[in-house]
């Protein structure tokens, strides 16, 4: 299908179905009517937002458009093709992301820029590729579309970071499709630091071949209302998918995470560790669906969602969903919602650590389990600092 037809079908789907409502099972706890009821503009401006490049490979999108001036695109090694998705349309574009999703349809119909990354067979790119999406036009809608494909045995690390100006409302609606060929490894990070009054939605969908590895770390700090849909399809034996996440929410932020892991074949692993810290009147939804199809014997799937509530007004809905059609599998899940451990706080106090410091230490320790899993040292340090900054902000 060509791009024109793909876009037309998506637009038709969106026109026919519109946005989901809370009557839709998958959207029961997240009311997107504030997005549906807003008219977004397509005005464009250059952005003055600051960002910190995490790598010598950095693509910067200013209010939805790739900025060659701010990006660092030169000198990629052979076998690495990186650029605007408008210049590289892969025939597989749109074949992976869930076509039934209103948000994916809106993106497919409306995207005007995004990243294309193709890594040739056997090429291992050690330096991360940092994608920065800056948003500082109030009332605008952005539909970034990213496409990542790596060849057999290839390797890449991609960091998507979304940064917004404080206190403005806009809508980011991103879609990222990831094709990981046999024995390939994609480490994908998503850092969401949108404005606290912005809408942020993203679908990340990855397909894994034999012995392929896909990891996704989603760190959510910003956004007023938003959702991540992170979906993995294990279609080759020996595949491994890791989906970890940390959401730090305060004020009236609402954030929803929907994971969907589809074990279609035997001998694959999936690990999901999601942690949330919520203060004030923040709300979070975690829905982790794991589908183990009939042929997916010896599946090893582990899911954990732990939440720390710093305030009585904060609320979490956590919903594990295991659908298992194979008989020889290992699937575990667990979910907790709790407050800081008073006994641990007392223990710290008996060593001279005051309660304010003690609470900060225990809260950081809670988040640290997710950060500890991050392999890239530069990304890890950067995220550790963001988490510290957030904790300082909420402890004031």
């Amino acid at each position: 299908m060509d791009l024109m037809q793909l876009r037309k079908n998506a637009a038709d789907h969106f026109k026919a179905n519109g946005f989901p409502t809370t009557k839709d099972e998958l959207w029961r706890f997240t009311d997107v009517s504030p997005v549906a009821n807003t008219d977004f503009s397509s005005e464009w401006n250059a952005s003055d937002l600051a960002f910190q490049p995490l790598s010598s490979y950095c693509l910067v999108f200013e209010n939805g458009k790739l900025s060659p001036e701010k990006s660092k695109l030169n000198a990629f090694p052979e076998g690495v093709k990186v650029g605007s998705i408008m210049d590289h349309v892969d025939p597989r574009l749109g074949t992976l992301a869930d076509a039934q999703s209103a948000f994916v349809a809106a993106n497919t119909a409306g995207f005007s820029d995004g990243t294309f990354i193709e890594i040739a067979e056997g090429v291992e790119l050690e330096t991360p590729i940092h994608l920065v999406f800056l948003a500082d036009v109030a009332g605008a809608a952005f539909h970034p579309r990213n496409f990542i494909s790596i060849g057999i045995g290839a390797k890449v690390t991609v960091v998507e970071e979304y940064i917004g100006a404080a206190d403005i409302t806009y809508w980011t609606n991103a879609v990222t499709e990831v094709f990981v060929a046999d024995r390939g490894t994609v480490d994908h990070y998503k850092v969401q630091r949108e404005s606290a009054t912005a809408f942020h939605f993203q679908t990340v969908e990855a397909q894994l071949g034999e012995n392929a590895v896909f990891s996704n770390h989603a760190i959510t700090i910003g956004g007023g209302l938003g959702r991540n849909d992170i979906r993995g399809k294990l279609i080759g034996e020996g595949g491994e998918a890791i989906c970890n996440g940390l959401y730090l929410l305060n004020g009236k932020q609402q954030f929803d995470t929907h994971l969907f892991m589809d074990h279609a074949v035997a001998n694959c692993n999936s690990h999901e560790l999601y942690k949330g810290i919520l203060d004030e009147k923040a709300r979070a939804v975690f829905c982790g669906r794991i589908l183990v199809q009939q042929d997916a014997q010896q599946t090893d799937a582990v899911q954990s969602n732990k939440n720390l509530l710093l305030s009585r007004g904060a609320k979490v809905h956590t919903l594990p969903q295991l659908e298992i059609y194979a008989d020889d599998v290992k699937c575990t899940h667990g979910a907790t919602i709790g407050e800081l451990d008073e006994t641990a706080l007392y223990y710290l106090q008996t060593r001279g650590i005051d309660p304010v410091r003690g609470k900060a230490m225990l809260t950081y320790a809670f988040a640290n389990e997710v950060l500890d899993e991050i392999k890239s040292a530069s990304v890890k340090t950067y995220l550790e600092n963001l988490v510290h900054e957030w904790l300082e902000k909420v402890s004031e």
């Binding site: 223990y347 008996t350 001279g352 650590i353 005051d354 410091r357 320790a365």
Partner: protein, 252 residues
Amino acid sequence: MALLEIKNLHASVAGNEILKGINLTINPGEVHAIMGPNGSGKSTLSNVLAGNEVYEKTQGEILFDGKNLDDLVAHERARAGLFLAFQYPVEIPGISNMYFLKAAVNAGREYRGEEQLDAMDFIDLIEERKKVMNIRDDLLERAVNSGFSGGEKKRNEIFQMAMLEPKLGILDETDSGLDIDALRIVSDGVNALRDPERGFLVITHYQRLLDYIVPDVVHVMVHGQIVKSGGKELALELENEGYASWVGEEGI
């Protein structure tokens, strides 16, 4: 001046009176042992001294190093030099032992108006103190008490005491769950810290620990009161005769 002076201390938990008039004075350099059957209030006393807010002091006075403990909350008592080695040390996943110790040591230094230890000085201090307690490097890197064996947890408590150099060390059933080798290491650690300026309150159920940490004074605690005090020979007497003559026919 006495290091610790407890006068007519009454304390309760959830409305139940556990301590019913404790009087106890520890002078600098002295090691006092409190022995008593289960449920006599030994652990309540250590928690009241450390400032655990679950326990409510209802009557009496506690002076520590000349300060009224009513005026100090738990972390201030610790900074002022009071240390409690827990019967059940708390596991804190996600905080490394090193990071925790550094925060604790520097909190005390800040209170005393001393400069904060930098990373190098801190490591020097660790290297010096860890030998006595036989603390391996991996225990320092691991999260506080997380996944430690019973013996490792107790050694870690005494190691923390060695790092923090308190004026008064309270050992709450530190011997419980220890085999003879671990008991020896823990006792050696405590004995190395004995000092003419420092006092200890050793709470134990068994006389065995007092073979290694030899006390100056032994107190017998029953039903929330100290019913007898004497020299170290009192511990042996208890070992032979038990607590029956104080507990009475109704038991505990």
